[in-house]
């Protein structure tokens, strides 16, 4: 119950505060490295989407 209240208190409109908290524990370079991994995942998803779209055209 206490945990749930804490999470609720930290909830702000549409943003995940726990992600921000985590990011702020990292160095600047670590933030960029994490971003790069997420960026690569997004690129892969875009490729997969384009392949799928081409398949159904």
């Amino acid at each position: 119950m206490k945990v749930a209240q804490t999470k609720e208190q930290k909830k702000t409109d549409e943003i995940d505060c726990s992600l921000l908290e985590y990011n702020l524990t990292l160095t600047h370079e670590q933030r960029l490295e994490n971003h790069q991994r997420a960026f690569e995942l997004v690129q892969e998803l875009i490729k997969a989407r384009d392949l799928l779209n081409a398949k159904f055209k």
């Binding site: 930290k10 702000t12 409109d13 549409e14 943003i15 995940d16 505060c17 992600l19 921000l20 908290e21 990011n23 702020l24 600047h28 370079e29 933030r31 960029l32 490295e33 971003h35 790069q36 997420a38 960026f39 690569e40 997004v42 690129q43």
Partner: protein, 159 residues
Amino acid sequence: MQNLNNILKILLENRIDFVLIGGYAAVLYGASQVTQDIDICASLNLNDLEKLRNVLRQLHPIHRINPNVQPSLDDYPKKGDLIKNYYLKTDQGVLDIIDEVISVGSYERVRAAATTIKLFGYECKVISIEDLISSKKSMNRDKDLIVLKELLSIRDKKI
């Protein structure tokens, strides 16, 4: 695979005078949104442009705005000519270079208030969080609004 950090490293290693702005600056401040490009603000006179051409040549930059005509940075603008903004596609990802930030001001203004961060062994100028918040407020796009909320929370430590 494209690597936006490689673009940043090349700019820093070659002492290009710029300020990191946009989503990548937001990431440095701790924002969680994934951005697809690197945005920088720079003063681009003829000498600066030549230096940038030499430095970026290894990344094969082309202008991406018109899908039908995408000249290389070496070919456009012609020698001795300048354009205001550069929207480039490179081997390592998209790089946008602008000479002023809407709602903030000129390169000189952005640079004067910028924060300096040590990155990859170099000093990197990053737009101040206040100026970044101002620019995000002025954009009024959904993706910018989320980043704006994150930046406000980070600035005010409401997390």
